[in-house]
Symmetry: C2
Subunit: 453 residues, 2 copies
């Protein structure tokens, strides 16, 4: 058995395509491509360097363009769109879901957008405009407008007949139908599992569940994701301010969102976007990264300026220059741990100004415990290394001070940044190391100047 | 409308409970607790400091213990279990799903495990043993053993009657039934959406889809997650080596897995576990973090040792001590970006030894572009600061060297670690900064020794 993709087989498929491309074996590559699903093709495309990516994209059947584009990360998608002519772009949108189309259309040049809009039926255009009327990162921006609705007064038997009539118009991933009245107001949810297990003579009103809370179309997408997680939802209704059903969110879009949230934190801490393309053009990547390096250079120069104020001290005791990176580095590592905990707490909605005090107290306690421990270790090693009890005492004290500063900065920076509307996942790390570098060098060299000279 | 939880209302609910606890208003806290779902209670518990967490846990209705425990992260759950008596633990397991129970039972002391096993019916015990027979991080460990199965030769009408008979025994989140033969071999999948849209006279064999590939029970959980994402699955069948259906994986467990994967990378880069509890006991946290700080101290001492070899040089030109952290820091920042890209590529199965060369080439090109740019900037600033063209040239050259080293280490370390079976998300950052610190100090002080003395 076991015909499904394991990592091994996925990588080997990738390697196979790469081998075909390396050998200019287009025909074999095309044939292999035909066997893959859009999501798998997208996966392979992302893993290919630029020139091979374009070649593979050109080999791809145009029928698969649209779905494959939607599976790609934003940067890779935009890169490919840039090289497509208008006609192909419009053709690619043909089989897209409305929620996908809404994401896609916003990244197109204006004239192509107009063309795509014109290619739609009146009905689809109206649906698209509904989704586009809500911001990207809300329930409304996330929803699809294809929910199947039923009236409360009809019997399950009638519902079953209605569904058979609809046939393939019922989306494949339908797990529940939504119950609305004549004014389109959302009333409740009829699960397919309930539909098929109850007596067909019962009415929808009797069988429907009222447990499912609809999302307001303006609810933040991150809250939608959290709620899907907490309630193990497969799909959920979306209503407008008047309580009218406007769409449906499905868990597959939430899964993508959760993946992106995770990557946002991980990539953000290195100053990268979650959409960062592993094989982005050198010039594009260089530009984006230059900004990040520039910001970090400012903080590095700030640290240097602090050190520069102690040139006279360093001139007299060169051992300080040897040891000073240790104090700064340990502070940075320790503070990053606190910062990471706090950023996750914020992202999960578990950290607020209400319990920040408890976190700070706990992190300070940990800093004291580890401060004493590592101050001792570092003090003893440094003392023996440079045969100086004074140096041992100074570096131990500086370590304590810096670990405490790191705990304070790590616990409070994310909250402060969040209140200022700055993304802590992006800015937190840079600011934290600025603090731990400055405090580390200042404490160590300052104490040395006072006590060792 | 809009009765659903937004971040604001979630935080305010959290703040409300915290306020009740701060004021010892147990009755009000208990009442508020009664209105919450297990997942929401778990969310609140995780956000409470230790003593308040225990108080709230004691206020909780024992009926909700089991479900709430399953929603908690591992560390918080284990903390609470430690303070429960055996009787309560056994009671908490009563309403757990088999897949949850399998996770739960492995963390209990042996005598409690035996007691829980004995409290199960013969049927449930056998199901539990099936799940337990597969490792935690495989499809088998993730699955539930409750799939509803049907035979291929019966008509949809018969299926509908069978489901009505089963009634509430059909799991709520059922989106598809699995088709098996008399030997329990998996044959195909009958989607509820298809069941309700087709003519009841058709047979299961006519309507079922063969598209759904079953997972082998030993497939890695991360591969299961990727496949759920790629194919937008809601549930999937799991088969054993003989092709017999043994269980079903549902997307809600995959959602948790994807969340954990994301947190693993983010938390791991700070040396924390994704299960890290924001309010873990100080001693427990201190111990775990001490290890991480100790490892980092080793690398910091290594850097110091490198610097120590240039004491004579530093003694003569103190400006070098002021500037040297800049070279190391820029290398670290730049290398971390490459490392982050490579770790994500590995995690997604998009990076292998096959295309690592392309990544390395691209990252080297970026390092050269940014190296030249920032070497110029740093060189000019340093030159003016210390009125020395020589220093400007040395620091510029050292920057170039370190950015190139950072690109090489960032691109190749994750692959090397992965091949050695070491988690790159955990060890990559430490090793990378070791490289960039050592190369940075060595290049800068080394060049200075050769050209400036």
């Amino acid at each position: 058995m076991s015909s499904q993709a394991t990592t091994e087989s996925e990588i080997s498929r990738l390697e196979q395509i790469q081998e075909f491309l390396d050998q200019d074996a287009w025909r074999e590559a095309t044939q292999l491509l035909k066997k893959l699903q859009p999501a798998e093709i997208a996966h392979v495309l992302e893993a290919l360097p630029l020139n091979q990516r374009q070649i593979l994209w050109d080999l791809l059947d145009t029928d698969q363009d649209g779905e494959t584009l939607m599976e790609l990360t934003e940067n890779v998608r935009n890169e490919l769109i840039q090289n497509m002519d208008q006609e192909d772009i419009v053709a690619a949108t043909e089989h897209m879901d409305v929620d996908d189309l809404a994401d896609f259309i916003q990244e197109l040049p204006h004239d192509v957008t107009r063309e795509v809009m014109e290619s739609l039926s009146e009905h689809d255009r109206r649906r698209l405009e509904t989704v586009l009327s809500y911001p990207d990162d809300t329930a409304g921006g996330l929803m699809n407008t294809d929910p199947v609705t039923v009236r409360p007064e009809v019997s399950l038997d009638v519902v079953l007949r209605y569904l058979r009539q609809l046939g393939n118009d019922v989306p494949r991933d339908t797990d529940q139908l939504f119950v609305t009245n004549r004014e389109d107001k959302y009333l409740g949810t009829l699960r397919l599992a309930d539909l098929v297990t109850h007596d067909p003579q019962e009415t929808v009103a009797e069988v429907m569940t009222l447990e499912v809370q609809p999302f307001n179309a303006l609810t933040a997408a991150t809250d939608v994701a959290r709620r899907f997680e907490q309630y193990d939802l497969l799909s959920a209704p979306v209503v407008n301010e008047e309580g009218q059903l406007v769409g449906r969110i499905t868990v597959d879009d939430v899964v993508d969102l959760i993946r992106e949230e995770g990557e946002h934190h991980f990539m953000g801490s290195a100053g990268l976007s979650e959409d960062e393309d592993m094989f982005a053009p050198v010039i594009v990547s260089s530009k984006r990264r230059a900004l990040w390096l520039g910001i970090n250079l400012l903080t590095a120069f700030l640290a240097s300026w602090v050190i520069g104020n102690f040139e006279a001290t360093l001139d007299k005791i060169v051992a300080l220059a040897v040891l000073m990176p240790i104090v700064a580095s340990m502070g940075g590592v320790s503070g990053t741990q606190t910062l990471t905990l706090a950023i996750r707490g914020l992202a999960l909605g578990q950290l607020s100004s209400k319990n920040a005090g408890y976190l700070l107290a706990k992190e300070l306690a940990i800093a004291l415990v580890n401060g004493v421990l590592w101050a001792l270790v570092v003090g003893i090693i440094a003392g023996f290394w440079f045969h100086s009890t004074d140096i041992a005492l100074v570096i131990a004290a500086a370590m304590m001070i810096n670990l405490v500063a790191a705990a304070i900065a790590g616990a409070l920076l994310p909250l402060a940044l969040d209140r200022l509307g700055i993304d802590p996942a992006l800015a937190g790390g840079v600011l934290l190391t600025t603090v731990t570098d400055v405090v580390g060098f200042l404490a160590f060299l300052g104490l040395a100047t006072v006590f060792l000279l």
